[in-house]
Amino acid sequence: MTKEQIEHVRNNPKYQKLVKGRSRFAWTLSIIMLVVYYAFILTIAFDPSALGTRMGDGVMTIGIPIGIAIIIIAFLLTGIYVRRANSEFDALSHQVKEELKDIA
């Protein structure tokens, strides 16, 4: 890439929008995943009996649905990211590329 091309992309508002939007979205989702996971694992470390609390009269404990829910959350978060990235972010990055071609 030449200096002019870099300059062009850097000043393209669509590029700025792409970088800002995606980085905010990606970090937000990452932090959600980290908070969910570390809340789970620190609960186990500090108060292991908490997840052993029974639900109702049976043997089922709240730890089981919570554990399964974390697996499902992980999958859903990837789905949410891919959906937005493959439409909105890819469209923006495509436009940035096209506009770069125009000046070349």
């Binding site: 990606a26 989702l29 694992i41 052993g52 089922m60 554990g67 992980a74 999958f75 890819d90 940035v96």
Partner: protein
């Protein structure tokens, strides 16, 4: 070359046939399982057929390393799942659930949560910047020689450790399931893996992994459904029965002793999360797809398959508590006489295997045994390819030949590296048979998390990173990971036999990853050289490419 492939194929099938004959002679604990052998032979001949097909299509270095970049997101997601769901996670996690109940789930969750983070922060940048190995990305704007040497060293160390663990597990498993002698089992796995990788490259490896993922997921699904059907599809009924028969009773429904203190908990989490994002054979899979869009889809599908698989292993483990534990058919009478309790044949990791017999008879036992073997083959092939690429692409082509090398020559070196790596693995697999290898996978993850990941991550995210910072910090992380594992409870106490560990924690990642990041930070910001200035300036162009894919590697035309 085709002729060679044909001869090796005949030899292998011959060896397997002879081996199946020897089983009859030395049946000890496991009955002769004809269906297992037939299904295994079907898998081997099928995958060798694919290797033959792939060999004809593997013409360039790009074909060899990345299957020409033409794998779809869905296929790659399957292949990633096939690469990641090792026999250790199938048999080990269901065995852990069988032994301790809930603790098995904690482990699975740790292995899964790294994936979304890889998607959000790593996968598309990696795809946009890299070509064949993750070192392409780490060395993008830094000095090739030192960065690639470090990355190759981290890759090869991770790959070899992981291979040892897989090989020893494979040898023992096959010995138990098929009655083959340990050494022959290891040689057979090594020989097949060399064949797949040298002839079929990434294309054959990918399809071996896809087929294995389909087999493993369908086998596990069948087992979980069979277990659930037994309890009228009621989880409560299943758990109630398991609590009744398990010696720990209600305790299996809650966390046990797997993670006891906060430091270990955080450290294990960091090792699994950052370690996954630093495994060379996993990172390499992102270069097999056409663009960032397909790279993202890969992780979405992979996370779905892996998460689904872990839910299945949880049900399978509980099913085994009910149907295998206390079942005289699977009881190891000899062991019980010595140690009491109700040990099962082959140890706890065989819980899923025995369950397959309990729910589906000899035929299904044969299927699951063959799947377990296929699983090992798929994982070791991916590892070997990643290790060979580090040797040929990073060390040979870019360090030794300074980047000016004929593509065909590079591919040849890669194939030679595969054969050597395969032989080394076979030797190590045999050497480690009777060793305690509990630390090996932990060490592989620790190195991946402390040396590979910090350098890769900061090269993509931190503009002030310099070669000096990356090399010194990455080396410190690597050294810290190795030192702390040696001084920790598993090696220092269990293997060396000392009274107490110098370093009290089983998982060093929290400390070694911190050392790596601090080291990289400190030696980068204090680097005032001309070179460092240029490297910082080059970040913007790299960042634009990583964000947009401008100038990224495309897929081959064919």
């Amino acid at each position: 070359m085709k002729k060679l492939l044909f001869i090796s194929l005949t030899l292998l099938l011959g060896a397997a046939a002879v081996a199946s004959g020897t089983i009859e002679g030395e049946v000890q604990k496991q009955p002769l399982n004809v269906s297992a052998i037939i299904m295994f032979l079907l898998f081997v001949s099928g995958t060798l057929g694919i290797t033959y097909w792939a060999a004809k299509r593997t013409k360039t270095a790009k074909d060899f390393y990345t299957a020409g970049g033409g794998i779809t997101g869905f296929q790659n997601g399957m292949a990633i799942a096939g690469d990641y769901m090792s026999a250790a996670s199938f048999l080990g996690i269901s065995g852990l659930v069988y032994l301790k109940g809930y603790d098995g789930l904690i482990y699975s969750i740790g292995f899964l949560v790294g994936w979304p983070v890889i998607l959000f922060l790593v996968s598309e940048r990696l795809r946009n910047l890299g070509k064949y190995t993750f070192a392409d990305v780490a060395a993008y704007r830094l000095k090739q020689t030192p960065i690639r040497t470090l990355a190759a060293f981290g890759s090869i160390a991770t790959v070899i450790l992981y291979l040892i663990a897989q090989m020893v597990g494979a040898g023992k498993l096959i010995q138990l399931l098929f009655g083959l002698p340990y050494e022959l089992a290891v040689v057979l796995v090594g020989a097949l893996m060399i064949l797949y990788v040298t002839f079929g490259g990434m294309l054959a490896t990918t399809w071996v992994q896809i087929i294995k993922a389909i087999l493993l997921l369908s086998g596990a699904t069948f087992m979980a459904i069979a277990v659930m059907a037994h309890f009228g599809f009621s989880l409560e009924t299943m758990f109630a029965k398991a609590v009744e028969v398990h010696p720990n009773h209600q305790a299996i429904m809650a966390p046990g002793g797997l993670v006891s203190d906060p430091v270990s908990a955080i450290s294990l989490g960091i090792a699994l999360m950052f370690g996954t994002a630093g495994l060379p054979h996993i990172l390499m899979r992102f270069f097999t797809v056409a663009d960032a869009k397909e790279a993202r889809k890969s992780v979405f599908f992979a996370t779905g398959f892996i998460g689904y698989f872990y839910i299945l292993t949880f049900i399978i483990g509980f099913g085994a508590i009910i149907m295998v534990l206390n079942n005289p058919q699977y009881l190891d009478v000899a062991k019980q006489a010595v140690s009491g309790g109700s040990p099962i044949l082959g140890g706890n990791n065989m819980a899923a295997i025995h369950l397959s017999h309990a729910v589906g008879g000899n035929f299904f036992l044969g299927f699951i045994s063959a799947v377990a073997f296929a699983t090992i083959l798929a994982v070791v092939s991916g590892l070997t390819l990643a290790g060979a690429s580090a040797i040929s692409h990073d060390l040979y082509a870019n360090v030794f030949r300074r980047g000016s090398v004929d593509e065909m020559k590079e591919m040849k070196v890669s194939k030679i590296a595969t054969v050597i790596l395969g032989i080394v693995t076979i030797i190590l697999g045999i050497a480690f048979e009777k060793q305690n290898i509990a630390f090996v996978v932990g060490l592989a993850f620790a190195i991946a998390a402390s040396a590979n990941f910090p350098v890769l991550f900061l090269s993509m995210f931190w503009s002030k990173l310099t070669t000096r910072g990356a090399v010194l910090g990455g080396s410190l992380g690597l050294a810290a990971a190795v030192m702390l594992v040696i001084l920790g409870p598993i090696v220092w106490v269990q293997i060396f036999g000392y009274e107490t560990a110098v370093f009290p924690y089983k998982y060093p990642a929290l400390f070694s990853v911190t050392v790596a990041f601090l080291g990289i930070w400190f030696f980068s910001i204090t680097d005032n050289s001309e070179n460092a200035k240029n490297e910082r300036e080059a970040f913007e162009a790299q960042d634009i490419r990583s964000q947009t894919g401008i100038g990224a590697e495309g897929a081959s035309a064919h």
